[in-house]
Symmetry: C2
Subunit: 328 residues, 2 copies
DNA sequence: TTGTAAGCGTTATCAA
DNA sequence: TTGATAACGCTTACAA
């Protein structure tokens, strides 16, 4: 029989007489034939593969996020796969990864942008390849995006601290080129301003976004004089670093310093200090990103870029010193 | 100029006169030409893509493991990418994922096997596709593997508990089809036996390998009568679940129950209770797996399967109740 | 109901 | 130093 016939029985794309079909199926089983997806992709110009550019899969925020994407993608079409890329927030690494993953002709790409590569990304979007920004976006780039209101979330979080009576509140600022962290610092400033507390630049300590660096930055926070009574951590590495710095000095949280952080952890409610945080819907961010991407992919939506903002939740536990109710 | 010429300047695969080369390069830039990796893969029967089957990327053990693979792969050849698959320990899901990822003609595959699909995997290995098992292996399957000595690690961990005087030691057993967990339980039995403590089946409580399930299993452990004074958790979900169960009841660790766990966490030394664990070299497991795979890929090694066993380390902190030295 | 053949964009062989 | 062309394995329009 002909290759066409085989193709049709494999894909069920046209009627094939039962006997021929049976023969084909038998041959397939006997030869352990497996359709060559590469040839298929070449012919159909569709790889059923999606690129995924995040900063670091060992950050639990991104691990959850990736699961959200994967689950949503499989819900739409189980034949799709994800190619994972960790930029580690480095523009040059991000770019090199883009180059290799684009050569593989992914059908679309979800990007948590490191912050640079603007022209590169602009060109990329210009090619018509479906692109969705997630968690952060680059102003001026015309692509779909799913984000959270970082400024508002931080405002609520820091305001909580203010209401507890804190006036000297340090900020541990992760050094990232993307917008999100800047917005968090703005939310911090807003909260101070709303409370009539003057913003003091010396209270914001900047660190590379890794635990080890955050530990030393946390230590700097503890050396500030007059000592702050509380600190706001702009992402989960900062939180981990600060708590470690406290712990290393034998200081206690919240007694010696109240701590609040951006981003939750799955175990944050069971280990001590129980962290008071604002939690991003990491899994849902992934799901929504995947859905935006698929809508573009299938041309179910063709208009101008959409920007989706998901809600955050303030989770008050104990590290802030509010011994109010402790949610699970 | 001809396609051949273009191909050769792109790949530097033969001498091209400077002027022609310049023209080609200019055209490439002008047209934003990007080589089609799919066509290339078809021609060269090589995709520069590696499949990766793990159980769940939100488990920090696997997140680290994946980073180890990625880093080692990029060290060997930065043009390679990883396709990530989360089997969630479900045989059928694992199999479906294999089917789609194999159709994409990955050059090799690193597998943390869920435990089933033996015949399927056997056939797969039979095709000659480079396969490396990691973290676990399936006895009888002839492929390279990187593992740790689970039995020995558990033995040392539980023995530590025994030396502290515990005689009634429960075990929280993650229900997984793979060998690793069984070996851990064996190590537990070995340690008991070596101490002359009779093994009591009622003290091993089995749970699905997810935090939520582990919480209820942990609760069952706490209901055991006479109450165990200590518990051994066979993986990090079990540990998390048990600590949560303790915390939910207002019980304290190690005062009310000593806890030891298999697998470390990056934050385990900074939050309380500080966990005493045996730590697997997750990152190194990934690296070694990637290197074994690449050696096969490049035919640098062609003999019989290799089995690599990496060392584990016992990290004594506080959850075991040994207020000895507390390592960072 | 089935078969033939073009064409997807490369690489590689062979010829010029 | 360069070019023409076959082949990779599939899908699909068209023919039988």
């Amino acid at each position: 029989m002909s290759v066409a016939t085989v193709s049709h029985v494999v894909n069920g794309s046209r009627r094939v007489s039962p006997e021929v079909k049976a023969r084909v199926l038998k041959a397939i089983a006997a030869l352990k034939y497996r359709r060559d997806g590469i040839a298929r992709s070449l012919r159909m110009s569709q790889t059923r593969t999606i690129g995924l550019m995040i900063s670091d899969i060992s950050n639990p925020f991104f691990a959850d996020f990736v699961r959200g994407i994967e689950d949503a993608v499989h819900a739409r079409d189980p034949n799709y796969n994800l190619i994972l890329c960790n930029s580690e927030e480095q523009e040059d690494k991000e770019r090199r990864l883009f180059d290799v993953v684009l050569e593989k002709r992914v059908d679309g790409i979800v990007i948590v942008p490191a912050g640079g590569n603007r022209d590169y990304l602009n060109d990329l979007i210009g090619t018509g390849l479906p692109v969705v920004f997630a968690d952060r976006f680059l102003p001026g780039l015309d692509a779909d995006a799913v984000i959270v209101d970082n400024r508002d979330a931080s405002f609520r979080l820091v305001t909580h601290l203010v209401r507890l009576g804190h006036r000297r509140i340090a900020a541990l600022n992760a050094h990232l080129a993307a917008t999100s962290i800047r917005e968090r610092i703005e939310g911090y400033r807003d909260a101070l301003e709303a409370a009539g507390i003057p913003f003091d630049e010396r209270l914001v300590v900047t660190s590379r976004s890794r635990i080890e660096d955050a530990v030393v930055a946390g230590s700097e926070v503890l050396d500030l004089r007059p000592a702050p009574t509380a600190a706001f951590c702009t992402n989960n590495f900062m939180t981990l670093g600060l708590i470690r710095a406290l712990s290393d000095r034998g200081l206690r949280c919240p007694e010696d310093m109240a701590v609040i952080g951006f981003d939750d952890f799955p175990w944050a409610s069971t280990f001590r200090p129980r962290l008071t945080v604002v939690s991003q819907p990491s899994y849902a961010l992934g799901q929504e990103a995947a859905n935006l991407l698929f809508d573009r992919l299938l041309k179910k939506r063709t208009g101008p870029p959409v920007r989706l903002t998901l809600g955050t939740s303030l989770i008050i536990r104990e590290s802030c010193g509010a011994h109010a109710r402790v949610p699970a």
